[in-house]
């Protein structure tokens, strides 16, 4: 009786200790018996990265972040990572810190510098340290994009109300088309996130084209702004015309970004084409765009949207890859 009690207590005690030790090691990701190598990457700042975040190479989980420490001089951050000893580093390696998902978990990705040459990597003070770059937080961009999307929705609603004649119906149809296309684009981007990631290299080459297109678009928007302020209907019509052309350029740039988006951009093209037709009709004096100008609230929204679009474009220029990953409004 007393013996069996001793045996039971001993068994439970040992089982408890084993459970704690094994459980802790398991929750840390089974790193026992695996030979690890420690590598250090250097950053200017490390965003939301924490100890224990995964380290990936070509999308494969190969280790974890062990330690994050401020460099003695305070000019940089050293991130120590343990990775499997059998992992071979790519040629001229760099480390990118980025969000693994939208929910605050970050990751460190090891790449070859040739893959992302444009980023402004921190220089390692140690000979065997790896240069690193931390991608900016997406939340700000998301917020801007959301606000723009909201404003656009308001404007579309108002435009829906403002036009009652046949032209208005046409415009509404065109807007519906644009909305549908936007929806499709968003869905596509979400569904094809991985594909888009893969074509990010292609994107790097088209960044320049996009930047030019974006700049034109920005000019166009500011033209719209002044036109409305001056109440010059004719020039508005002209600008809308040019805007349509710029959007066409943008969408063809998107075609470069991803073959998979081809179908959708085609329908976008047709939507923009019908918008173009409507604008021509307006040009011939059919319809009453004047109604649009009488609504000062609408004007304000338009002006605000225009400036938000400019913000967005600036962000877009800085981080084209994150932007495409995130969403198309």
């Amino acid at each position: 009786m007393s013996m069996s009690n001793e045996v039971r207590v001993g068994a439970v005690l040992i089982a408890g200790i084993v459970l704690v030790v094994v459980g802790t090691i398991w929750l840390q990701g089974w790193r026992i018996g695996r030979e690890d190598q420690l590598v250090t990457a250097w950053f200017r700042e490390v965003g939301q990265v924490q100890r224990g975040n995964p380290v990936k190479l070509r999308g494969v989980h190969i280790g974890r972040i062990e330690e994050i420490s401020l460099d003695a001089g305070g000019s940089g951050v050293a991130v120590r990572m343990s990775i499997g000893s059998d992992v071979r580093m790519p040629e001229d390696p760099v480390v990118l810190l980025s969000m693994e998902s939208l929910f605050g978990d970050w990751q460190a990705e090891i790449h070859s510098r040739a893959r992302f040459p444009l980023y402004d990597y921190a220089v390692s003070p140690e000979p065997d340290g790896i240069p690193g770059y931390s991608l900016p937080d997406m939340s700000r961009l998301t917020a801007v994009a959301d606000r723009i999307a909201e404003n656009l929705a308001v404007i579309t609603d108002r435009v829906d109300i403002a036009f009652t004649d046949e032209t208005a119906l046409n415009i509404r149809e065109a807007i519906d088309n644009i909305q549908r296309v936007t929806g499709q684009l968003t869905a596509l981007v979400e569904a094809q996130e991985q594909t888009v990631r893969d074509v990010a290299v292609g994107l790097e080459t088209t960044t320049e084209t996009l930047q030019q297109a974006a700049l034109s678009a920005s000019r166009t928007f500011s033209l719209i702004e002044t036109a409305i302020a001056d109440g010059q209907l004719a020039s508005i019509v002209g600008n809308v015309d040019r805007l349509t052309a710029q959007i066409d350029t943008l969408s063809s740039a998107l075609v470069l970004v991803s073959r998979d988006m081809g179908g959708v951009t085609e329908s976008a093209d047709s939507a923009f084409a019908s918008l173009h037709a409507i604008v021509s009709a307006l040009d011939r004096g059919e319809g009453t765009l004047g109604l649009l100008l009488q609504d000062t609230a609408l004007y304000r929204d338009l002006a605000l949207t225009s400036s938000l679009v400019q913000d967005l474009i600036r962000d877009f220029q800085r981080n084209p890859r994150r932007y495409i990953n995130l969403r198309v409004f």
């Binding site: 009690n5 089982a15 924490q50 224990g52």
Partner: protein
């Protein structure tokens, strides 16, 4: 000076005074009791042999109830996490929530509260009965220090076994949540485990065990104190038992907050 307190204020003032004196006296006695335990700790020859039996009664025998509570806690945690996270947040966050909540809070605290009832009441009732039937006096007359013989083994056993029981409870809760995630939430094992590991740091386990040990210490000392200081009959034993359970439950929650403030 005292003449200022007159009429209607006398009764409440007297009550406050009496309560304060009573509380202070109680604390004083508890302090003396603790000092006695500290002294008796050196007498390993007396409490050592009784330790294993107490570890069995306090620890091993508490496993079923602790595991039962932990299993249902785990199931509910998983279901409620997925309910809270509908749509917007990825499913593996169920694993994050279950792991963190179980280790940091619910594992130790729910187990602690359950054992405050089970172990605390048991200790207070046992010692209380021994006190009113003069068994503790009898021990003394036979040359035993009842603190070393009765109290220290229980306190040590609780100190050692609460963390063990809580470790099992944590594991049980996580496994139950895991099974729930697989069967009711359409999650996969890699998803759940990914969440579990995502924000895990070994300190979580240490924290859980430190809490558990402090709860064990509190439950056993308080149970022993109330049992030991019982005076009267069966009713007094009942009162001591209730007081022990209530006070140790409260102390568990206070300690819980204390550790959160000092360790996190």
């Amino acid at each position: 000076m005292m003449k200022v307190i007159t009429g209607a204020w006398r009764a409440p003032a007297a009550w406050v005074g009496r309560s304060a004196v009573g509380t202070a006296a109680g604390m004083g006695r508890f302090g003396q009791f603790l000092a006695g335990i500290g002294h008796a700790l050196t007498d390993v020859r007396t409490w050592g042999p009784a330790l294993v039996a107490q570890m069995g009664r306090i620890g091993v025998a508490s496993l079923p109830i602790a595991l039962f509570i932990a299993a249902f806690t785990g199931i509910v945690l998983a279901l409620q996490a997925s309910y809270t996270f509908t749509g917007a947040i990825p499913k593996y966050f169920v694993g994050v929530l279950v792991g963190k909540t179980m280790l940091l809070e619910l594992g130790p605290v729910l187990t602690g509260l359950a054992l405050a009832g089970r172990v605390g009441a048991n200790i207070a009732a046992e010692l209380g009965t021994m006190r009113v039937t003069e068994q503790i006096d009898a021990l003394e007359t036979l040359g035993y220090d009842p603190l070393a013989h009765l109290v220290v083994p229980k306190v040590m056993a609780a100190l050692i076994m609460f963390p063990v029981v809580v470790a099992f409870a944590n594991a049980m809760g996580i496994v139950a949540a895991w099974a729930t995630a697989l069967n009711l939430l359409d999650m996969t094992t890699p998803e759940f485990v990914r969440g579990l590991r995502l924000f895990f740091v070994p300190f979580d386990v240490t924290y859980s065990l430190i809490k558990a040990a402090s709860f064990g210490l509190a439950v056993a000392t308080i149970g022993c104190f109330f049992g030991f200081t019982t005076w009267g009959g069966a009713q007094a034993v009942g009162r001591s038992t209730t007081q022990a359970v209530v006070l140790s439950s409260m102390v568990i929650l206070v300690l819980d907050a204390f550790w959160a403030v000092t360790l996190l």
